[in-house]
Assembly symmetry: C2
Homo-oligomer: 183 residues x 2
């Protein structure tokens, strides 16, 4: 089963581990991304995350599908990403899988972390000790446009550098995205 | 810090995660080995693990040292292995690390799992539905001798296929091992 979630509360590692454990599996692999207290020499107080939620969930679902094609023995997959403020040492993202044997579990989680960073439209803002305002940044590996006050409400296709991904989305799905981004 | 433990109770994933979390780190990677309900077409009820405890702890410590040489940015490492009976779906081994960035965390855990399977003298016995007696087995990847009733109390060097490792152990350390295996 795939468990995909964007949440605004603390992520419970034990809960996610329980979601993926299975009697038929001998291996679970879990990656946890946490807020680091420094970035480029500056002291970080917290990170803030925002997302195009519908598109982010869709991309997280695509990651699950790709993992299942590449590692067909995977049993359960969980991808949780926290939104809003994430203080230092707390979890922003958890990716966890279970599989009968360890190579599939270990390799698929590494692949999923890279894929999440490069394909899921989630932006982060570093809140520094001496600069509480910060600036929204796309993940360096991600081709999605910069986050702006307007782009949080309406997807700005003119800024979009992700022609390849957009081409793959059917007309009906594009309508769906526009609808949900106005919520 | 390195946290190395052989325990006879359930392993608490959340506890281990708390041990390795650090403010300076943005990534934690955790591998969990669990008892699978089948092996070669037979229904498994539980696995039993036994170890040369002093030698197993020593080898687990060597894995930590090797990880720190290969990935110098690692902050905390935890390697917990359960001994005794481990029912289906429960955790037998947990390896967890924290690092500032994700490549070190992900790669080092994969390396450590392989290393643990190939170098730590822990034996397992599968208890099947229709065969409750089972047979002690060394890990298929491990060069340590088979576990026997006598070898649980005295290390049988005559059975040992691990000349390379034995050569690396100083005389004083060999005395230490013999002493503790009589406990």
């Amino acid at each position: 089963m795939d468990h995909i979630k964007l949440i605004r509360n603390k992520i419970d590692i034990n809960h996610i581990h329980q979601l993926i454990i299975d009697q038929s599996c001998g291996a679970c692999s879990v990656f946890v991304g946490t807020t680091r207290d420094h970035f480029e020499g500056k002291k970080v107080i917290s990170l803030e995350y925002e997302a195009y939620e519908s598109m982010a969930l869709k991309e997280m679902g695509k990651i699950c599908s790709e993992l299942r094609i590449r590692w067909p023995t995977l049993k359960h997959i969980a991808i949780y990403h926290r939104l809003g403020s994430v203080p230092v040492a707390e979890e922003s993202v958890v990716i966890a899988v279970s599989a009968p044997h360890r190579p599939a579990a270990l390799e698929s989680v590494s692949f999923a972390v890279d894929k999440l960073k490069s394909s899921v439209p989630i932006w982060k803002k570093e809140i520094y000790e001496n600069d509480q305002i910060g600036e929204w940044k796309a993940n360096m590996e991600c081709p999605w446009p910069q986050f702006t006050e307007t782009s949080s409400n309406a997807f700005e296709y003119s800024l979009c550098k992700i022609e390849r991904q957009v081409e793959n989305i059917s007309e009906s799905k594009l309508v769906q995205i526009r609808t949900s981004s106005n919520n």
